[in-house]
Symmetry: T
Subunit: 147 residues, 12 copies
Amino acid sequence: MKIMVIHGPNLNMLGEREPDVYGTVTLEDIDNMLKKNAAEKDIHLIIKQSNFEGEIINWIQQFSSSVEGIIINPAAFTHYSVAIRDALSNLSIPVVEVHLSNICAREDFRHRSVTAPVVQGQISGFGFQSYLLGLEAVIHLLEGKED
Amino acid sequence: MKIMVIHGPNLNMLGEREPDVYGTVTLEDIDNMLKKNAAEKDIHLIIKQSNFEGEIINWIQQFSSSVEGIIINPAAFTHYSVAIRDALSNLSIPVVEVHLSNICAREDFRHRSVTAPVVQGQISGFGFQSYLLGLEAVIHLLEGKED
Amino acid sequence: MKIMVIHGPNLNMLGEREPDVYGTVTLEDIDNMLKKNAAEKDIHLIIKQSNFEGEIINWIQQFSSSVEGIIINPAAFTHYSVAIRDALSNLSIPVVEVHLSNICAREDFRHRSVTAPVVQGQISGFGFQSYLLGLEAVIHLLEGKED
Amino acid sequence: MKIMVIHGPNLNMLGEREPDVYGTVTLEDIDNMLKKNAAEKDIHLIIKQSNFEGEIINWIQQFSSSVEGIIINPAAFTHYSVAIRDALSNLSIPVVEVHLSNICAREDFRHRSVTAPVVQGQISGFGFQSYLLGLEAVIHLLEGKED
Amino acid sequence: MKIMVIHGPNLNMLGEREPDVYGTVTLEDIDNMLKKNAAEKDIHLIIKQSNFEGEIINWIQQFSSSVEGIIINPAAFTHYSVAIRDALSNLSIPVVEVHLSNICAREDFRHRSVTAPVVQGQISGFGFQSYLLGLEAVIHLLEGKED
Amino acid sequence: MKIMVIHGPNLNMLGEREPDVYGTVTLEDIDNMLKKNAAEKDIHLIIKQSNFEGEIINWIQQFSSSVEGIIINPAAFTHYSVAIRDALSNLSIPVVEVHLSNICAREDFRHRSVTAPVVQGQISGFGFQSYLLGLEAVIHLLEGKED
Amino acid sequence: MKIMVIHGPNLNMLGEREPDVYGTVTLEDIDNMLKKNAAEKDIHLIIKQSNFEGEIINWIQQFSSSVEGIIINPAAFTHYSVAIRDALSNLSIPVVEVHLSNICAREDFRHRSVTAPVVQGQISGFGFQSYLLGLEAVIHLLEGKED
Amino acid sequence: MKIMVIHGPNLNMLGEREPDVYGTVTLEDIDNMLKKNAAEKDIHLIIKQSNFEGEIINWIQQFSSSVEGIIINPAAFTHYSVAIRDALSNLSIPVVEVHLSNICAREDFRHRSVTAPVVQGQISGFGFQSYLLGLEAVIHLLEGKED
Amino acid sequence: MKIMVIHGPNLNMLGEREPDVYGTVTLEDIDNMLKKNAAEKDIHLIIKQSNFEGEIINWIQQFSSSVEGIIINPAAFTHYSVAIRDALSNLSIPVVEVHLSNICAREDFRHRSVTAPVVQGQISGFGFQSYLLGLEAVIHLLEGKED
Amino acid sequence: MKIMVIHGPNLNMLGEREPDVYGTVTLEDIDNMLKKNAAEKDIHLIIKQSNFEGEIINWIQQFSSSVEGIIINPAAFTHYSVAIRDALSNLSIPVVEVHLSNICAREDFRHRSVTAPVVQGQISGFGFQSYLLGLEAVIHLLEGKED
Amino acid sequence: MKIMVIHGPNLNMLGEREPDVYGTVTLEDIDNMLKKNAAEKDIHLIIKQSNFEGEIINWIQQFSSSVEGIIINPAAFTHYSVAIRDALSNLSIPVVEVHLSNICAREDFRHRSVTAPVVQGQISGFGFQSYLLGLEAVIHLLEGKED
Amino acid sequence: MKIMVIHGPNLNMLGEREPDVYGTVTLEDIDNMLKKNAAEKDIHLIIKQSNFEGEIINWIQQFSSSVEGIIINPAAFTHYSVAIRDALSNLSIPVVEVHLSNICAREDFRHRSVTAPVVQGQISGFGFQSYLLGLEAVIHLLEGKED
């Protein structure tokens, strides 16, 4: 079983810039935790990060027929990328949107998610645990399907 | 370790009314799944449901000093109960908001959550799994604290 | 045949407070007129009034399987109670919303009804006659079903 | 006693176009039901339909001094015809606005009624019964006056 | 010199309906005052009233090449008739918009005039004097042109 | 094969008023071009223009069962005529909305089209060519149907 | 002379939860200060607190005929409880709305008070002194009446 | 008979700055035309101009008991000076608001007049003639009163 | 101890214009009541009124270092004077905003106060008593500080 | 003669994903139809698709001096890409915007086109025919220029 | 060469009130820096500060013909003074708007500048350097003109 | 000392397309002026231009640790790129936003800058001088830091 993980713009700087503000957990750390959890369940993860909206769309198009689920943190693109929304819309595999922070507790413009209405569900506010919970959510969704 | 689970208005009808529409999973089923998962981790759950905003506030006030975390599905109250928001605000224990459905994919007025800005995080759209993921999220938050 | 009538908050004061402003028709008078009209058609009415949103939800849940129709004047709850909306939504029996006054001719915030989109229809502006017309409407809807 | 019934634009197509969608009840059927009900109560109905806003205004002006009440379904004009509103405003006879469908359950722009604030009351959502209930409402209003 | 005067919907009822509310000045009275004032200045008036938006557009099209100015009280059409706006727009003769009442002191929706941006100027709030001042304004505009 | 062409308000003045502004192409010129193009494809055109919303609705009702497609330029009515929208809605024949100018490049209130959501498609901004393209579009739609 | 004091939701936690944030003044302290001030002026206070909107409405209905004034801090209900507004509206006794904090200096949604338009006046921002000033305000209003 | 004329901010620059843009008519010219017209009718004018909102309020307060009418061009203050609105509100003498330009044809923020709802009427768009028509309007209003 | 009292625009006319509407209490009366109350507590009042926003700002700047508290009724300036807000913001002495009328019960534009977020608290709706309560509020705030 | 065709994001998936939903016409099919039509008129097409906003801008910049017209379907970028708008703005060659679906009949956020105000015209709702009509439109525009 | 510098309301308190918050740079310091910089380039500065909107307008009118450029920090007036906007509009000399703070990073109501659309450009966020950069900007604009 | 200069989308066309409209100053000219000014102060500039949002984010991430300041003209991205905002947010070096034109004087959607709240300051409206002033601003900010 293969699952894709997509990190949106600026997430590559996680833990590297201003560790006193954002903590010292890096994106690599998150990826390793995800891989460890996935390995335990015999799942292969394909993990990508990009600051380019187009590249994220390309990956969704390219992998959506070969993976069985997608975990995506669209980061800033959450709030305006209709193009990513269109790429995610009506996929035949489950998609879970995750956010490190509680986006409802931040600036007004972050309360609106243009991608949320076309994904299966959302998990936000738990830091790196949002990703781990997202992985479980995808697995549950796939298991539910099999029943 | 004790954790509280609060179900908001109309959730008591789950699975009983229109099973062909909402499925046959009842609130009792969800509670049993939650209890089973909790028991495995030696956690005691206090589970409540009410159609009264005031009763939910009473429970939050009454139990927030004796439990170590709260999982709440405020249901319809999500969208207007400033009183529940105020009860949840600034608690010293983690609070996780869960929703069965993806509220961003429903009517416009359901996109706004007045409670979300004062909780730790949100999980929505995974049916009964939203609760199970919520339980895990609370446990993660408590474990994180201990470190 | 049984039909439920639900009066929302503050309607219990009708005709008792400021009779020179609101007239001298009391809620009891309305109930008696409704019962008389119902009796003529061999219909039994279950009539309730509450200032508690939760109690109204409880009654809808409790009686919606044993009555054949509901007449509800949600009064102030009309404008914000998503919880009552959810309780009324997708019932298998007809629901008619009634208002004593013409809510479109009052303050702006009263023009929006959160319950209206999930009921069968609305009757507003005819004083106590709104209830009597509501009773007829429910009967028509039930008769129409039988055909 | 004479009462006027005014049908707004496109209502003349009722039941004739797409019977599988809108049912087979035609405007003529509604008019006949109304006439039958009216005749039983010794009321003479003047019934008009127009696709012209100006013609509807002309009729209101022309007949408002010779009839004792008006039942109007402004249809699409409900949502923008300030001119019909002005014609109905401050008439000395009761005016009842009726709608076949529950306009609150349709597109957003249909939730606003520019005519509603100047009529006695509204009945919507009961199909052709909206008209029959409207007739009763007008009769009640006239009887109430006589008291 | 010929000037056209156009009265919009419902103005034909002026002074006839509810004289205690609107006064006893009829549209005929206003027309006579206008004609008297015009005659003194050797001006011929063409005066029209209609409840039909289309008829008003027809008159504007038909007479705008044979009269030297237009005084129009679009009444309710002021607030939504883009079609009358388009008919008035870019005429080569001066157009003055008049209103009996002070539309800024009435309901919110009357504060917006869709016709105002395409006319020369507006006079509102002076009862029938609005028309007489409008006549003077047109004459001034024509005299100004001659200079 | 018969196709109807409906020109909305003020289009009859095209090319006659202010030729230096709007060009010298008249509505008659457009009609002739349309007829010539139609004739080449053995199509009979029924062409109408009106400044009356009601007349346009009448034509839609009267001809929608005897023609095989409609090309309509609702002009100013585009922006507020819910009544024309209702007349066009759910017709069993294709309807194409055309505009001479690019309405998105004009005043804000012209960006909203109340008719657009119920027609097949829109063509705007190409002057008289909008009509010729509209004719082709209808033919394509009819041909597509036949396949 | 009897005056009623109503404390809205969550005020019962005052001073008990997070004393370092909200100070150590409890609701009981406030009640004692109010009682002491009232006793000096020979006034009897009836003091109530509830987290239930319905209970607050019940109290207003029950006591408004036996007390001579009401001091109410609707807390979170200030911002959405149309039902409490309706209960307070048109009472024959003075009602004063008080707030511990300056609600205009907090989140946007707290700037709107649905109850304020139907009370005599508002006092906000002075901590527990808001209540003491509110008591004085009611006394002034009652004394003013007697003159 | 005395009438006051108040010119708002920046009107003192009329005709002096950029004569090729605004014409060569100065405020002094307008004042002279007004005085000439007034003199013919035996009216004494008190004419003031200020760039200070406070000074305009002072004049309204100072003169409203000794003049019989006010003509005011609030200029930029039209759009935000609630203080001038309050000064004009409920005066016992007629007040006419005039504007040189057609404010509805300018920037969006100029479409709203905060003073208009409290004056008798408005005249806008006729250049200096707006003032002369305003003088006539005041005279008409005073004559009407005498009848 | 010195406290400043600032009356905003048009308050100087209180009780002098239209005594039948606004009552016969003049600003002088209010000032005398305030002085009497202050004298009893050995407080010296500096009282100012102006129709000029700039003068009010000057006074705030000039006196804020020599008085110990400010009572301000910004009147119309409440709703738009960002300049007065900036003058009041971050003063080291307490500022209390008072209003004679209940501004929440008046026109929509009066519901917004630009000054309220930067003052200590607000008292509105009690007529001249608003000032007396404001004086007490300032004294309480100063006493509270001393503790 | 050379004309450029630009396909926006996700259009490369046309007909490949969910053929039962979107039909089996692929982007390649559309390109072939376009090329066939173009070839008949001796026109060379340059056809590009990208999921990258920046790449589309690059192509517009690179080719706008060597082609004689542009047909663009900005897809999701239609609704927010000010950068593509700026690239298209004030080109000296005609640009036609096309859409497969009727964007006015879809979600609210798709009704706004940020690119539409700077192109020559729009064609939407005709499936692949939108492109063929777009090609004709460009040719007409170029022919019109030559005259 | 003479250039005018205008400081808006409350700027006279700069550095004097709460030096720990706003720093110790006073307006006099800024003026001295400006004068020093100006002197080096042989420019004479006329520097004014006022808390009165009217005084600022007077200065603009009085000096705009004798100076060659204006640097203005309208402070709070930035957000509502249409009167200052009108005074600045269409001057024949360059005007530069400066702000000490980054107004886009402050409260929402400070994001809108009513003066910005009529000046040459804006510089904000650099503390006292905003003025020095503004001086350079004016000089550049004047030099540019001479070329 | 190294400073980065980032030019957003379409700026590479400056001076090349439509020189009669935008002038003949090219981006290369601006870069040369910047370099010359920088060289005089011994500053090395790294200058980049891209039409890709992602590339701009990459550069900000890549260079923000090796340069001492950033001058950015986000062009069209100013109005919607939350991703660039997030990249710029909380950098430890000063960032200055510059615009060639006065964006407040252009279309409404250009008045909102999503990047402005996270940069140090903004300079707009001075053509290429905006960049030169931006360079000075960065230098001032860096010098200020050293003190």
